[in-house]
């Protein structure tokens, strides 16, 4: 989510900093909401009339009275499309990916419509990153307040902390609706047509939307983007009743806090929920199909994370097993999870718990898209695309004027990746070739402390180095040596840099520690811009800040080439 901020900034924008502050005041955005979809900026953009390429800005005004009028005015102000199409661009799905694409399309002067079949904001805003951050914000505080030793070392005394479940749940829900309305308003204000119903492709450049049946409206578009996202993946044999056996969709509503919950899957989602549940007093049993917890993370980071996030908490785990059958609690019996060995399929006993959360991943939501009408076959549900997000049909040819972004193409199932892909597509359809470097897309897990990463893991980098015959080096710095981290009593943490000593290229950065999710962007931007370590070494970091962890990391790298940046012109101060 976070990177949505930087992405929307990367577009040419006339917004100045002071304006931004005004907008924030007008909207009474709490600082918390800024953490999520980067909406402050987008909401602000909503203040500008945007017809074709000229943007005239309105003076920000109060939200209630004039806002709707402004929107109405804009909607009637649509740009006529060239070539006889109803729209230049139609996006199916109004999640974060579709939203990012729509905003960028308007900026590029395209007449844009977005088809929303469910709720604006999609998974991220309504059932994913956004509400989960609200719960994690609560769990982080709970954890701190409960940690007597931690508080004592600050000289603080806190009586036993308690919580009101409904209050926590409301916080998550309120946040989601706030972000959702911000998203909706930002699109309305820019004149994006929001069409309600299911979008179905009828043929090249032609589609319909509506509730199904004869009432559907047929429209044409020069280009179409599929951005329908994903739904929680529930493996066979598992019966989700929404009460005792749940997915993240239900868990985020926090309807109850079980005493003991089994979490199936120990990836990002499972890990974040274990953080929430243990902070609220639950005990957790992880069920992981692979041989170790937290697959997908750099092994060293995973090891450290396990040391900090799993072992000292009220968590145990079964690895190398599948949950072959999960029966919800009923008739006075607990939830029963039947385990089988992931390889041999032999029964490995049962686990009896109060609830089970299925966090085994997400499945693309591509049904009813009408892909058969244009001869596109999904692969395990995903829409096949090339590196420019152009959809590939069953014959291996490019489907004309059709793109697919986000979870539906499965390239990188992250909200901000979807948005970045959407922007890349808009660049292409407005005549500028663009290929997104997926290795520059950061990912974060918002546990306490946080985990973040960009680029390759150590084993991946090693494999690449071996294959391509280059030398690879690793350097690490510890949060223990960082003043700010120590001031916060949060010295536990590690930053790891994987790089090429011959060129100074960054291959990957992995951080485990306080605010890791915010720290990663210096590295991801460097990868995106192609900045080399020898140049980063000269960048100045404010002292004392956590960013010095990365500063030290870059400085500790032993690069064999000298800085490439020309000597800067002296600037008088």
């Amino acid at each position: 989510m976070q990177s949505a901020i930087s992405l929307s900034l990367s577009s040419p924008s006339t917004i100045t900093r002071s304006d931004c502050t005004v907008a924030a005041n007008v909207y009474l955005c709490t600082p918390r909401s800024l953490r999520f979809c980067g909406l402050r900026r987008e909401v602000f953009e909503s203040k500008s009339f945007n017809s074709l390429s000229v943007s005239t800005r309105l003076v920000p005004r109060s939200r209630d009275s004039s806002f709707n009028k402004v929107c109405a005015a804009l909607q009637s102000n649509g740009t006529p499309s060239k070539g006889g199409f109803d729209y230049d661009l139609v996006i199916i799905g109004a999640g974060v990916g579709g939203h990012g694409a729509a905003l960028h399309a308007v900026e590029k002067g395209l007449k844009t419509a977005i088809i929303e079949g469910d709720v604006v904001g999609g998974t991220c805003v309504n059932r994913g990153c956004v509400p989960s951050k609200a719960l994690l914000a609560v769990s982080g505080r709970m954890r701190e307040l409960q940690n007597e030793h931690h508080m004592k070392s600050f000289g603080l005394q806190v009586a036993a902390a308690g919580y009101d479940r409904q209050g926590v749940a409301d916080h998550a829900n309120n946040l989601a609706s706030k972000i959702r309305s911000n998203l909706t308003n930002s699109m309305k204000a820019l004149g994006v047509d929001i069409l309600t119903g299911t979008g179905t492709i009828l043929g090249p450049q032609k589609l319909k939307f509506g509730k199904g049946g004869s009432g559907d409206t047929i429209i044409t578009a020069k280009d179409i983007i599929i951005a329908t996202g994903s739904v929680p993946l529930v493996p066979k044999g598992i019966e989700v009743d929404g009460k005792s056996v749940i997915t993240s969709d239900h868990a985020l509503k926090l309807e109850f806090v079980p005493e003991w919950i089994a979490i199936v899957g120990s990836g990002y989602i499972g890990l974040e929920f274990s953080d929430v549940y243990t902070a609220l007093g639950s005990e957790v049993t992880f069920i992981e199909a692979l041989d170790q917890l937290m697959p997908g993370f750099d092994p060293e980071i995973g090891k450290l994370a396990q040391r900090v996030l799993i072992n000292p908490r009220k968590i145990d785990y079964h690895t190398g097993v599948f949950a072959s059958k999960i029966t919800p609690a009923k008739d006075g019996k607990p939830v029963i999870v039947e385990l089988i060995d992931a390889k041999t399929k032999e029964p490995k006993g049962t686990v009896e718990v109060d609830a089970a959360l299925i966090a085994t991943g997400r499945a693309p939501f591509t049904q009813g898209l009408g892909l058969e009408n244009i001869n596109v076959q999904t692969q395990r549900g995903f829409v096949p695309v090339d590196e420019r997000m152009r959809v590939i049909d069953a014959n291996g040819k490019l489907a004309p004027h059709l793109y697919c972004i986000g979870d539906a193409n499965g390239k990188m199932m992250l909200a901000h990746a979807a948005s970045a892909q959407g922007i890349s597509v808009v660049e292409q359809v407005s005549g500028k070739d663009h290929v997104l470097n997926h290795l520059s897309i950061p990912a974060a897990c918002f546990t306490h402390p946080e985990i973040s990463m960009v680029g390759l893991t150590e084993p991946q980098a090693r494999e690449k180095a071996e294959k391509e015959g280059f030398e690879m080096s690793i350097t690490k710095t510890s949060f223990k040596a960082n003043t700010k981290a120590l001031a916060e009593n949060e010295g536990e943490g590690l930053a790891k840099l994987i790089y090429r000593p011959d060129t100074g290229e960054i291959l990957g950065v992995h951080i485990f520690g306080m605010h890791a999710a915010d720290l990663i962007h210096e590295a991801s931007n460097a990868i995106a811009m192609g900045t080399r370590i020898q140049d980063l070494k000269f960048a100045v970091h404010a002292h004392p800040t956590l960013s010095e962890v990365l500063d030290e990391l870059f400085k500790s790298a032993k690069v064999k080439v000298n800085s490439s940046s020309p000597i800067a012109q002296p600037v008088a101060v």
């Binding site: 709970m142 409960q146 004592k152 000289g155 005394q157 009586a159 036993a160 902390a161 308690g162 919580y163 009101d164 479940r165 409904q166 209050g167 806090v257 005493e259 003991w260 902070a279 609220l280 007093g281 005990e283 957790v284 049993t285 090891k303 040391r307 072992n311 000292p312 009220k314 968590i315 145990d316 019996k333 607990p334 029964p347 490995k348 006993g349 049962t350 009896e352 109060d354 690490k476 510890s478 223990k480 040596a481």
Partner: protein, 452 residues
């Protein structure tokens, strides 16, 4: 780089008639000469894991660094005796290794019966302490059912299992009082004879928090208020505990001190010259001390038993460094043989490693002579305590301008520093130390030879 030290010895308990060499205890390794106890940072392997020779099994925090410890034997980790976060003396069993699966149950039984008291964090002597009586009911030698693998029999929550492990409660013998008859953390605490810790997390019922929360919390005794107001008790870290122990131990050695003023103009001039090449003052002083020690081997000797001299074959200069609230002495090995530039390079690496807590034992406990420099703080002279196991330690003060009179009665202002050596008088006598200091001062006053 892992410590080669590993501590498995065949078990031959007198209580068990049949000696089974195939069940081995994993002992707390001595990762440094000063280490008397170690803290388990984490078990890399868990109970039931198959280990092969050379694999890392456990991470131990010694007084100096966190280290992975690896096994010398193949086998199965049958039982973990000392849990993560707990401390055990060097040589105490921290885990049990079985050679085959058949022996796991037996090994486990041993773990519960024999080491049940080992987990108390400050237990002084482990091996001979009696089994904890109140926890283990009848004969624990009968193999306890390996709880988790038998399907559906024993249901205990994750925290209950952790507590049971920690307090050596046989979870198979408990009757659960939780929902669906499961064993709860409270059940384990009761069995272990511990008062249930006040539940720190309280989900207030739907009512407003303010009114219900305080009532729901069993009010904790205001223990935090009984301390003298304003004072805080901070337990020693492992490193600080080691320092404390060493310092007390040093009292058993009869030491004496000899001071010496040394003119440093030449040294300062040389330092300015070589500084751009990465040479540090520490390296210069260490090199000078090493060269002087080469001429006075007795000052580099150790008195181990109070009866003899032990002349060390190499000159390893330990340099005291303050680090994260502790004290560590990275060692410049063969300081007399390495040239100044290599020595400086080596020093830089050692300091980096020390900061990252990655020093290997031989990098901090192989010193034969210690150098302590507080000159950078402006300290003009001080007195160092001789660390156990070494013959002498040198305390170096700041180099400061001083008015000096030469033998002809002419006054001049020269930079001068005071060094003070503390030595073990059992082996090093006053004249030895004086002669050593004379050599040392000559080297400092004519330092060009150091760069060669």
């Amino acid at each position: 780089m892992r410590p080669s030290a590993f501590f498995l010895k065949p078990r031959s308990g007198s209580r068990i008639p049949v000696v089974r060499a195939k069940i081995r205890e994993i002992f707390m390794p001595a990762l440094s000469s000063t280490m008397t106890e170690g803290k388990i940072v984490s078990w890399i392997k868990s109970e039931g894991d198959v280990l092969s020779k050379g694999e890392s099994v456990v991470v131990v925090e010694s007084d100096k660094a966190d280290m992975d410890v690896e096994t010398f034997y193949d086998g199965i980790l049958a039982a973990i005796v000392i849990n993560e976060g707990e401390t055990a003396p060097v040589g105490a069993a921290i885990g049990i290794l079985a050679e085959t699966e058949d022996e796991i149950a037996e090994a486990k039984a041993k773990a519960t019966s024999q080491f049940s008291s080992a987990t108390a964090p400050s237990a002084p002597k482990v091996e001979e302490s009696p089994p904890a009586p109140k926890v283990d009911a009848p004969s624990p030698a009968v193999a306890a059912a390996p709880a988790p693998s038998t399907p559906g029999k024993v249901v205990a929550t994750p925290y209950a299992k952790k507590l049971a492990k920690q307090h050596k409660v046989d979870i198979g013998k408990l009757v659960g009082t939780g929902p669906f008859g499961r064993i709860t953390p409270e059940d384990v605490e009761k069995a272990a004879g511990i008062k249930p810790a006040s539940k720190s997390i309280v989900a207030a019922p739907a009512a407003p928090v303010a009114s219900s929360a305080p009532a729901a919390v069993p009010s904790k005794a205001p223990s935090s208020f009984t301390e003298t107001p304003g004072s805080t008790v901070v337990p020693f870290t492992t490193m600080q505990a080691a320092v404390s122990k060493n310092m007390v131990e040093s009292l058993s050695v009869p030491t004496f001190r000899v001071g010496y003023p040394i003119a440093t103009d030449a040294l300062d001039a040389l330092y300015e010259k070589v500084k751009p090449k990465g040479v540090t003052m520490t390296a210069l002083l260490a090199k000078a001390a090493a060269v002087a020690l080469a001429q006075h081997p007795v000052v580099n000797a150790t008195c181990k038993d109070g009866k003899s001299f032990t002349y060390n074959s190499s000159i390893n200069i330990a340099v005291a460094v303050a680090i994260n609230g502790g004290l560590i002495t990275p060692v410049l090995q063969d300081a007399d043989k390495l040239d100044l530039y290599l020595l400086s390079q080596k020093w830089k690496e050692l300091v980096e490693k020390a900061r990252a807590k990655q020093l290997q034992p031989n990098e901090y406990n192989s010193g034969t002579f210690t150098l302590s420099n507080l000159g950078m703080f402006g300290v003009d002279r001080f007195d160092a305590i001789l660390p156990p196991g070494q013959g002498a330690i040198m305390a170096v003060g700041a180099s400061k301008p001083a008015v000096l009179a030469d033998k002809d009665g002419f006054f001049s202002v020269k930079n001068r520093m005071l060094v003070n050596v503390t030595a073990d008088h059992r082996i090093i006598y006053g004249a030895d130390l004086a002669a050593f200091l004379q050599t040392f001062s000559k080297i400092i006053e004519n330092p060009e030879s150091l760069t060669m």
